[in-house]
Symmetry: C3
Subunit: 210 residues, 3 copies
């Protein structure tokens, strides 16, 4: 069980590190700059979660995460010689995988450490969303959570589904896999078929800056 959590967590770190490195390809960054943007994206959310829970930060306890990020950034630089030709959807989809994984794993960790259910779901969402948010803010781009349909919603669905499946009495690894698939399906549906929720009304753009 712990094995499964660990591998899923590493996989989430890899996909987010990859999305950070892809984003870095839009700026003329040297390799260390790419590695930093990868790292911020991959461990930003989990760091905030652990700091808020006041539990030892996961990558301080276990530096293997840092090596995985370095390797991901290096492989991205080596194999993707021309980030320009990577379709934008690639970045969106790798971000969606990280979002779904981290939202569920973050909820799991918070529950394990004794947090109340709504707190755990919020911290799960933070784990899934914050790394990409910092990546976008540093790049001076409006974060996906404000631009994309069903972004926070998919992360929250992951946490809700996980606690619900646990509540139904399913074993934890089933609940984790089920919740990740649910959140991922919703987010991919939003990307591919433009599934949306009704939006809170918008004001026109001229006024929005003054």
């Amino acid at each position: 069980m712990l094995e499964l959590l660990y591998w899923l967590d590493l996989f989430g770190v890899i996909v987010f590190a990859f999305s950070g490195a892809l984003m870095a390809g839009r700026y003329q960054l040297d390799p260390f700059g790419v590695a930093v943007l990868s790292a911020v994206t991959a461990i930003g959310g989990g760091t905030i979660r652990d700091v808020i829970l006041q539990t030892p930060v996961f990558w301080v306890k276990n530096p293997i995460y840092l090596y995985v990020i370095l390797a991901t950034a290096a492989l991205t630089i080596i194999f993707i010689r021309c980030p320009k030709r990577i379709p934008k959807r690639f970045l969106l989809v790798s971000d969606a995988f990280g979002l779904a994984l981290f939202a569920v794993l973050g909820t799991e960790k918070a529950l394990t450490l004794g947090a109340a259910v709504p707190v755990a779901i919020l911290l799960g969402m933070v784990t899934g969303v914050a790394g990409g948010m910092i990546r976008d803010v540093l790049c001076n781009v409006i974060p996906m959570i404000l631009r994309q349909e069903i972004y926070a919603t998919a992360a929250i669905l992951g946490g809700v589904l996980f606690t619900f499946l646990l509540y139904l009495g399913l074993p934890e690894h089933i609940a984790i896999i089920g919740a990740i698939l649910g959140a991922l399906a919703l987010r991919l549906a939003a990307i591919y078929w433009r599934v949306t929720l009704p939006a809170f009304e918008i004001i026109d753009h001229d006024e929005s800056n003054k």
Copy 2:
């Protein structure tokens, strides 16, 4: 006394959650996106304060804050059908209430936990200012603290006034109310009558980006 602090704190959370939801109305966000921007604005400052003080984060201990934010976001969405028609001053004034409340309550909490006076005043300011700052940074808008007159100043006045009134020997609840009113009055004066302090000179805009 604890009662009073608690209600003022909840009131601060409500006005900041409202200001976050209003800001969200400028983007085409689904309801969960609105709730997230509300939450970040309402609990961002207090979270940073508690993390720096290394005391349990207030909403992790007491999830009622999260329900209050959800309710505020929901009511804002339901009753404000057209955020476009809300005058901009509304956002500024609700932000001013949150700023004054949180600056004083944050100073009080830090002092209670044994922080030195200048540390407590700085953490009070952080409590009042940081939530709105994160809201503005996420929305890619220059934060109010850099655009608005007498913003940090009002927050600092709140903390200074509170410690000064305590030092004079006034009972704590009088000191709290007095300091909140003082900070609020200064900030509202800046909004309505454009009270200002002399500014550090400005350079012309062409140079500022290169």
Copy 3:
């Protein structure tokens, strides 16, 4: 030895506070707004380091840092009547000093507190980089780490050099001075002679926002 660390740390706080105040001169900020931007720049990185290490935050333990920042901001306002005439390089060079100092001192602190070497180097980089990053994000400017050559790289070099010199058996104060000079030399070389590393390829700007 502790003496030396302390003075270097204060010097780093002063140069970063100065760079924050200079940046504030580009906005029409009142004196307290200037002080806040100074403080965020000067103590942002070390605060994040201490929070992640879950050790008491340095300026909460020792408020002298806050007085030093206030004094630096006040002197900058008083003596630099016209921030417009300050050449841009001034800001870059003071930022470089802060970067080199904090990267090495941050690595030292993390190692002392028992962090693994790669964790310590990463936290050193965060100490050197994060304050300026928050300053730039608040001012809605792309952070230097994404715009400047050899920025993260110089910070990482500082941490690597420090652990390497320690590993060679040099006394700690020599290792600190040597590592600071190495990181500073690399960063200044990047500023003055445009030393660069090969960049990860860039995509054209039209696509980068959509």
